[in-house]
């Protein structure tokens, strides 16, 4: 081999389709297109076997193949002369390729339709540049600009991120500082963080960066879209350019067909024209504690080193998030002995000049609407309703996490209640939709209801 296969990893993103040339036993050539060539190791690649087509038939008769893969950074085409070795129907390689196909199908609303029959492994016998596909000497300007905007990742960047993780004193500062660091360190300016919701098989967004809407409370079903697929597979997923563009159009089509009720849900924030997406699961001791997703309008934005770095960051972050939740719960127990209830703090009613907001709790749906607009549902809604009701009845303003945990009406799980993430979600939704109601931290495990409006509370079935 004249060129190291490792140096061509950027070619294996499916940004431009690859070409597969084969030949039957009776000498008839075949020229087909491939969406993706998977890098296996320094001497092997794999091609997906989904349909028993002519190329596959030819390979069973004649194991020689030729593949062209373009380098999306430079435009240089590369020719890989291959020899079929084996087909894998299980194992890490098969799983990785099958997951990619599932992620694509999920975007198309066709999850479960396309099946990978096998990962066909080929030995790479020879590599050389394609003479007629001459690359530019430097990456195209859009990639150069992206590279310039993003300082080259080094171990120092990981140290910076690690320090931010160690310095965070709450889930909120932890998540926000990481999303900020992703932008400052890598130039990843559009990111989001989701955690498992109390509802089974649902993720809920608790923090985003780079979008006009903060998207807090936006839900994604496990298995849907890149975030849902990452959670389901518990493996990182990266999608680049061409494939994403095709999928986006299909996703738009599907969106147009959604029923009215679905549009009332909080939309997941996202770029209007995303070209690259990268999602990683946050796994701590086998438990999924969240999903981190970054996206970009640049077709091939997340390179190999970016992917490796975000995966590494994800493993740190997962443990940090889990530790933060455990730490806050433990701190609650230490600072608030069992049975302690905060004395009621009576505050003066808001001045008459302040706006009046109508807050309605719908008991059947367990959701809250403010002035007729959807705010939040489920446990965060029950928490808010409890706080507002207590304030209306007694004038109390300060509350503790511990008393929420002890309140059976909230139905929080005995263990791993994720209360901090629910409060963070509630705070973010209020900031966006009803800033006159605030939840201000006032010490570990304590927060205060900050009202800058007159409230009219009502319940409806």
């Amino acid at each position: 081999m004249t060129v190291a296969l490792e140096s061509l990893t950027t070619c294996f993103q499916g940004l431009l389709p690859a070409q597969l040339f084969t030949c039957s036993a009776d000498g008839i050539p075949n020229a087909a297109y491939l969406s993706h060539v998977e890098y296996v190791d320094s001497t092997h690649v794999a091609l997906s076997y989904q349909f028993f087509n002519k190329s596959r038939r030819n390979i069973t008769e004649n194991p020689q193949a030729l593949v062209f893969v373009p380098d999306p950074d430079t435009g240089q085409g590369w020719s890989l002369r291959l020899r079929y070795v084996r087909s894998e129907t299980e194992g890490p390689l098969f799983d990785r390729m099958a997951l990619r196909i599932e992620a694509i199908a999920s975007y198309c609303g066709l999850k479960g339709i396309f099946k990978l029959r096998a990962a066909d492994v080929y030995e790479v016998v020879h590599v050389e540049p394609v003479a007629e596909e001459v690359g530019t000497l430097r990456p195209p300007p859009h990639l150069a600009a992206a590279a310039a905007a993003s300082p080259i990742f080094t171990i120092n960047a990981l140290q910076t991120l690690s320090e931010r993780i160690h310095c965070a004193d709450s889930l909120e500062t932890l998540v926000d500082s990481i999303l900020l660091a992703l932008e400052e360190t890598f130039g990843f300016s559009h990111s989001m963080f989701l955690v498992p919701a109390e509802e089974k098989d649902v993720l809920v967004t608790i923090a985003t960066r780079g979008y006009s809407e903060n998207g807090a409370g936006a839900e994604v079903r496990i298995g849907e879209g890149i975030c849902g697929m990452v959670a389901e597979a518990r493996k990182p997923i990266r999608i680049s350019g061409l494939m994403r563009g095709m999928l986006y159009a299909l996703a738009m089509h599907r969106e147009a067909q959604q029923p009215e009720s679905a549009r009332k849900r909080i939309p997941l924030p996202g770029l209007a024209n995303p070209e690259s997406q990268l999602g990683v699961p946050l796994l701590a001791r086998g438990e999924l504690v969240g999903v981190l997703c970054v996206e970009s309008e640049v077709p091939y934005r997340f390179h190999e080193e970016d992917k490796a770095s975000i995966e590494l960051l994800g493993s740190y972050l997962a443990i940090a998030v889990q530790n933060m939740l455990l730490q806050e719960r433990t701190a609650d127990n230490v600072t608030e002995p069992a049975g302690t209830v905060q004395p009621a703090a009576v505050v003066a009613p808001p001045p008459a000049t302040q706006p009046r907001r109508e807050v309605v709790y719908y008991t059947a749906d367990e959701c809250i609407m403010v002035d007729g607009e959807y705010l939040i549902r489920s446990i965060p809604a029950k928490i808010l309703w409890r706080l507002l009701s207590a304030h209306a009845a007694t004038g109390r303003r300060e509350f503790t996490n511990r008393e929420l945990r002890l309140d059976k009406s909230l139905n929080l799980p005995e263990w791993k209640d994720n209360l901090e993430s629910r409060l963070l979600l509630l705070r973010r939704r209020l900031e966006q939709k009803c800033p006159q109601i605030g939840l201000a931290p006032c010490g570990r495990g304590r927060f205060a209801l900050d009202l800058r409006c007159e409230l009219a509370l009502a319940t409806k079935p």
């Binding site: 940004l15 050539p29 087909a32 297109y33 030729l66 430079t74 003479a131 300007p141 350019g241």
Partner: protein
């Protein structure tokens, strides 16, 4: 055999690749630039850069078997035409405009899916060689279970 609708598709500025093979059944391939369907709806001229032609024309002269794949990146529509090589010659200046038009169309297609034109400006387009062949079979190749279906044949 090549109906007007298909002809319009083929000549609309696509990704085009030529597949050939050696006497030892080793596959060879090259990127092509443009295609012209002759009025008999049976013969095609496929244009490719001279540097690319050097790899595949010897195969064609030796055994005559050719496969040409066509794909439109914006919707993945694709087909493949197989046939018998007739001859190859240097493309003349009068044909350069046709080549440039179709290459420009292909780059426009790529632009629609986020690949800037500058990413392919280094690709060789001239001098070019014209390969003439007679189509014998046409296959559907749009991704999916129908890929590989025989659309038309005239042995």
């Amino acid at each position: 055999m090549i109906e007007p609708d298909l002809r319009a598709f083929l000549e609309g500025g696509l990704g085009i690749h030529i597949g050939t093979r050696t006497s030892r059944l080793e596959p060879n391939g090259a990127r092509a630039l443009a295609v012209k369907v002759e009025d008999d709806q049976l013969h095609l001229l496929v244009y490719l850069a001279e540097v690319a032609a050097r790899r595949v024309v010897p195969d064609l002269r030796a055994n005559g078997a050719i496969a040409v794949g066509f794909a439109r990146p914006i919707d993945e529509r694709a087909c493949q035409i197989k046939g018998i090589f007739v001859d190859a010659r240097q493309a003349v200046d009068d044909e350069r405009r046709l080549i440039e038009q179709q290459v420009d169309g292909f780059r426009g297609n790529l632009e629609h899916i986020g690949i800037p034109r500058i990413g392919t400006t280094g690709w060789c387009t001239w001098p070019a060689v014209a390969i003439r062949f007679r189509a014998t079979t046409i296959f559907e190749q749009t991704p999916g279970p129908a890929a590989g279906t025989l659309v038309a044949a005239r042995p």
